[in-house]
């Protein structure tokens, strides 16, 4: 119970204030905490899953190890990310046999892998899924299969409340204060406010807008969007140009929009097309009986939850640690040569059909000998990402709104951190923060070079500095920092990419034998796209 005996209330309140003000939480530990930090303590941690070495081997076509094994299969899926796993699920649903999968990593999952320690599970990249549009039937069906949707009322899904993001959801650190929600509202001018409202209204209009073909202007999967030129032409200009032309110049608004592009696309306002930028705001028409339309689904392990559900239901054999490096389209099948990292040998898989669920920057090298004319390669541009998982004793609160699931700091390069334990029903006095840093400025290639040359100590320093900006004194509470570097983290929806010809051509199968699915073929890197890419490609495989 809560109340004190009469009289002691004041005292308790006083104590609460003094303790809260001076200390106990991060702000105050700062001073005494320094003693710990200056012990010269090195925070433990590693760069995990480091190794673009296989990738480089593929790219450079280095000395090819001896062929030791040959396998025959009907259908080979290369790549066990969401698109590959989704394709496998679909093939299985349709009763397809004689399918196998190869995955270069130690485990399947791709950008939806996760980690786990004593304190919590935590994502290594993808971490949430907004509740989908009911029109996205294949995804809705999948969510029903795995218990994320538990039923329907008049066709509107009931979501499992353990999976809906618990309240409080988001907060923004601005002007030394954590406000609720991510749209800046603390300490902004009237004019800023008016522009934000105007933009939201415009996005709302776009959300309802339909083209002459009767389709919504913006939809997910994006290929179901209207083909109406009046909307598609927005893909020719950058989001920034669109904003300028529409008279948006309020700093907090531009910050917020750039933050959204960074967060979802790993791109800035210049490297996001206006179409893609608006898509973020205008495509979500999710519905639920027990949540509002902007609700998101999340788990401590992030989309690792969805990935594992797909993985568990995949009945086909999977060979992990096997990286395809060359594909040959011969008379007696497609030859896929894979490097077996464990045995340092080559495995040849001879398949009737191959489903390439790998990114185009990899396909470029795999398909060298096939001699196809896919023109996509000059058009793809990937944003590098760095993700850190920070384990700490104590959780970072601060002034204002209590710790949320998503915690963003105004005006920083990083897009903040997610509290991985948020969905746990028990609040421990320990936590894991998943921190995200996209590289959206300058040439991605240069950024990659710089990123790969950094050591774990460099990253730790960067992470701690960034966190300490909003949480001074957090350092002594950190017990571990692990880092993962995604050199080609996300496809950027640069102007002209989404509705250019190269993308649609690249989805075409080669010779009725080699098929393609990957989120980069959509141009925006989200679960829904990867999932539907897998379904589409699997359908094509079955049709031919």
């Amino acid at each position: 119970m809560f109340i004190d005996g009469a009289g002691s209330k004041d005292r308790r309140r006083f104590l609460k204030q003094v303790l809260a003000l001076a200390g106990v939480s991060f702000a105050g530990r700062y001073v005494t905490g320094c003693a710990d930090a200056s012990d010269g303590r090195v925070i433990p941690g590693d760069i995990v899953g480091a190794g673009s070495s296989i990738g480089h081997m593929i790219r450079d076509g280095r000395a090819i190890p001896a062929l030791t094994e040959e396998i025959r299969t009907g259908i080979l899926i290369i790549g066990g990310g969401i698109s590959g796993l989704s394709a496998a699920r679909w093939l299985h649903k349709k009763g397809t046999e004689n399918v196998m999968m190869v995955e270069m990593g130690e485990e399947t999952g791709g950008n939806s892998v996760f980690g786990q320690n004593k304190v919590s599970a935590y994502p290594w990249a993808a971490h949430y899924l907004p509740i989908p549009d009911v029109a996205n039937t294949s995804l809705i069906e999948f969510l029903g299969e795995i218990g994320v949707i538990t039923g329907f009322v008049d066709g509107v899904p009931i979501y499992n409340e353990y999976h809906l993001c618990h309240d409080p959801e988001e907060r923004l650190y601005i002007d030394g204060y954590w406000q609720e929600g991510l749209v800046p509202k603390f300490g902004i001018t009237r004019e800023d406010e008016a522009q934000i409202a105007r933009f939201m209204k415009q996005a709302e209009d776009y959300r309802a807008a339909k083209g002459v073909d009767g389709k919504y202007a913006f939809s997910i999967p994006l290929d179901t969007s209207s083909a109406d030129e009046q909307f598609r032409k927005l893909d020719q200009i950058s989001f920034r140009q669109f904003l300028t032309e529409n008279g948006y110049n309020a700093k907090p608004l531009l910050w917020y929009l750039e933050y959204c592009c960074k967060d979802d696309y790993g791109a800035g306002l210049d490297s996001t097309s206006a179409w893609a930028g608006l898509h973020y705001f205008a495509s979500r028409r999710g519905k639920a009986t027990n949540a509002n339309s902007s609700a998101v689904l999340t788990w401590p392990e992030g989309n690792g939850f969805l990935m594992q559900a797909l993985r568990k239901h995949n009945p086909y054999p999977v060979r992990t640690g096997l990286a395809a490096f060359n594909i040959e389209n011969t008379e007696n099948g497609v030859h896929v040569d894979c490097y077996d990292a464990g045995r340092k040998s080559t495995v040849r898989i001879v398949a009737e059909k191959v489903l390439m669920c790998t990114p185009q920057n990899v396909n470029k090298y795999l398909l060298k000998s096939v001699g196809s004319e896919r023109g996509i390669y000059e058009h793809v541009q990937y944003a590098p990402w760095v993700v850190a998982n920070i384990t700490c004793t104590g959780v970072p609160e601060g002034k204002g709104t209590a710790l949320c699931w998503d915690n963003v700091v105004y005006g920083r390069q990083s897009v903040g951190y997610v509290f991985a334990n948020h969905q746990n029903l028990v609040r421990k006095n320990e936590g894991v923060l998943t921190w995200y840093l996209p590289f959206t400025e300058g040439a991605p290639k240069e950024a990659r070079k710089a990123i790969y040359s950094k050591t774990i100590e460099d990253w730790k320093k960067l992470v701690v500095e960034d966190l300490a900006y909003a949480h001074p004194g957090i350092e002594p509470l950190i017990t571990r920092i692990d880092v993962k570097v995604w050199g080609h983290g996300m496809i950027q929806p640069v102007p002209g990419y989404v509705w250019g010809n190269a993308r649609s051509e690249a989805m075409q199968a080669i010779d009725g034998r080699i098929f393609f699915a990957h989120s980069d073929l959509s141009g925006i890197s989200i679960f829904e796209e990867a999932f539907s890419q897998g379904v589409r490609a699997a359908e094509e495989v079955l049709r031919t």
Partner: protein, 515 residues
Amino acid sequence: MVNGAGDGTPVHEKKQGQGLLLFSVFVIATCGLIYELVAGTMASYLLGDSVTQFSTVIGVYLFSMGIGSWLSGQVEGDLLKWFIRIEILVGLVGGCSAPSMFLLFEHVTYFRIVLYSFVVLTGILVGLEIPILMRILKSGIEFKDLVARVFTFDYIGALLASLIFPLLLVPYLGLIRTSLVFGIFNIAVAAYLLYYFEETLRYRRRLLVPILASVFALLAGFVYAERIMSYSETLAFQDKVIYSKSTHYQRMVLTRNNRELKLFLNGNLQFSSLDEYRYHEALVHPGLHALKGSKKVLVLGGGDGLAVREVLRYPDVASVTLVDLDPAMTQLFRSNEMLLELNNRSLLSPKVRVVNDDAFNWVRRDTMRFDFIIIDFPDPSNYSLGKLYSSKFYEELQHVLSDSGIIVVQATSPLIARKSYWCVGHTMEAAGFVIVPYHIYVPSFGEWGYIMGMRNFGWHTGAQLPRGLRFVDKDVMKSMLLFPPDMSEVATEVNKLNNQALVNYFEDEWAPYVH
């Protein structure tokens, strides 16, 4: 260059010396007012009734300054030396005032004596400062300018202090560190004057020792401020603290006076031995007495064993499972003699199984069915507790409740937190329970509410109550069901994991009482 006063000191140097002294006026005025504010704040929080405390502290402080001013008349000899000595003393006394009061609060019976001793002492010393300083300065400046300047700086310092104290110091440093920092400022003034004026050469060394020692002491206090604070946490309680422990989950404090024993968790009162029987009888008997036959009981929270004590009054209770997060809590109530007497050794009964686990997870995992489930969690004052009042949690309870079973939830005060109370009820309804809301009066808490839930309405007050109850009887049970208009049902949202409606209601409704 023109020579100034007859002593041969160049004018600009003299001016600089005076500027420095005037700057000291400014610093010491700031410090002086800060000490006064620290004492006033401290007194009003520790002793309550802030108007009285603030005005008496200010009155006594000003009066003491008057004594100081009067005493300054007795001071003769090397004024600068006196001034430096006084600065060191002010720094030390004023600087240590907050931490000392914190530490002494729980140990001394007459805390007011300590408080006013500090106020008087600091006041006298501060009262000495300005008159002596003016006497030092008077050799260089004309009297009317002197008065004008000194008081200007004095009042500017006071303004500064009164602004930064509430806006910066209390929020960012806290009281303890504020008082320590300003102590250091006073001593810094002493040190700088000592260093700047050549006439101090003779006694520089002698005064350096106390300066360094004081600075060191204040700095040490600064570093240990946090420890002082957690140590003095017990000052939050009016009674003698007889036990306190920080566990992995919470801070437990037991206090006693000659009438009662009290348990606080994280500073919140859990029970007073004087009237806990009211709370626990009302929690248990209305529901449990109505169930027939051999019963399996589940208690969630309530690691003090007091609800279990009431449960064990029924001989036909076959087993009791108590799930409480904190092993330290259940251990304490299984071992401490005084507490064993209070809970009637309930947790040692062979019928009772104690599980230390989080209730939400435990309920989700458990497959047993219970006839009576008591939910006695702390109030939903934060988001993690809010989850234990969510529709999802009550749905999980459905799985461990027997067909004709009853659950009862402690549901905060329907009077003070009316929306919160009914929100709990509506949430239980949303999870498929038929509810029976009721409330009683517990002196330590005020009007307090509970809500029973069952699958189909089947509750009645007709059955036999166990003997020896001090509060609950048939008529009382009937009266518990009546809700006067100021507590009657209001529309609320359902508390869900993804809206945490209850925590928001609770925060709003209790805010006037906590802030």
